[in-house]
């Protein structure tokens, strides 16, 4: 599997560390209640298809990335800096 780092370019998967669902970018407010926090901390879908995950370019530039990929075809559909993704959400 190859992942294109927005900074370094296309690199081997072994340079990257998988972190988890990109839901980590959507942290609820402290007052949002138990249900929102339960979802945020524990509840994850496990789709056969497109997922949006956080990866860390550990063996490269050290950037955090949001990688959109398909778990069925192993296609990497999109990569962006997590900081850009977070700013776009604001």
């Amino acid at each position: 599997m190859r992942i294109t780092c927005p900074i370094c370019g296309e690199r081997d998967r072994r340079e990257f560390y998988y972190v988890g669902d990109a839901v980590a970018l959507s942290r609820p407010d402290p007052d949002d209640g138990d249900i929102a926090w339960d979802d945020y901390v524990h509840n994850r879908d496990n789709p056969a298809g497109v997922t949006r995950d956080l990866w860390y370019h550990e063996g490269g530039c050290g950037a955090w990335l949001v990688v959109t990929r398909n778990t069925v075809t192993h296609e990497v559909l999109q990569t962006e800096l997590a900081s850009d993704a977070k700013e776009a959400m604001a």
């Binding site: 900074i7 370094c8 081997d12 340079e15 063996g59 490269g60 530039c61 050290g62 950037a63």
Partner: protein, 183 residues
């Protein structure tokens, strides 16, 4: 008081050679990491040019020459190698002395690319990785910075604590390439 002797990271390990490929330690010098403050990248580049005659390198690039280099080493981070950093840089970025923290070696000779091809998951052949190009990548399991500093010469930087492993990994690949060339 006891006499203290400075000991370089690869002291007693280098130089070595196998076939026509050589690995030697680059003598220890000043190393300063520089991270531009937010919005200060262009101003930092101007200050670097004025003080040290080298622009801030883009990602995957290095500027300068032997003895005075600026190497891109990560997101929003470069390493100034050689000169004492000018005070004028401090207004535009965070400077950290890293002189003792890195093992810096030079791999050179006709087969140097073949040696690195056994160790690094990035294409470092001259057609795509030219003089002045640099990468942050892995050498086996180790995080390294590799810069092409000549037609068949590379500078490799690894964390100082990894110096012995670095030499071992590169030496093993050097012997493998030399054995193949000899057969």
């Amino acid at each position: 008081m006891a006499e203290m002797n400075a000991k370089s990271p690869c002291d007693g390990l280098l130089p070595i050679a196998a076939g026509d490929v050589h690995l030697s330690e680059i003598p220890m010098t000043l190393m300063t990491s520089i991270s531009p403050f937010k919005g200060q990248t262009a101003a930092l580049s101007e200050a670097l040019k004025a003080a040290h005659g080298m622009a801030l390198p883009a990602p995957n690039r290095a500027t300068g020459r032997d003895g005075a280099r600026v190497v891109w080493i990560g997101r929003e981070q470069v390493m100034l190698i050689g000169p004492e950093p000018a005070a004028s840089l401090e207004a535009h970025g965070a400077l950290t002395d890293q002189s003792d923290a890195w093992a810096v070696v030079r791999l050179y000779g006709e087969g140097a690319e073949d040696v690195l091809a056994r160790l690094v998951p990035v294409d470092l052949r001259a057609a795509v990785f030219k003089r002045g190009h640099t990468v942050r990548t892995m050498l086996q399991h180790m995080s390294v910075s590799i810069t092409r500093v000549g037609d068949s010469a590379f500078q490799i930087m690894a964390f100082r604590s990894m110096a012995k492993t670095l030499v071992h990994e590169v030496e093993t690949a050097m012997k493998g390439v030399a054995a193949r060339d000899a057969s």
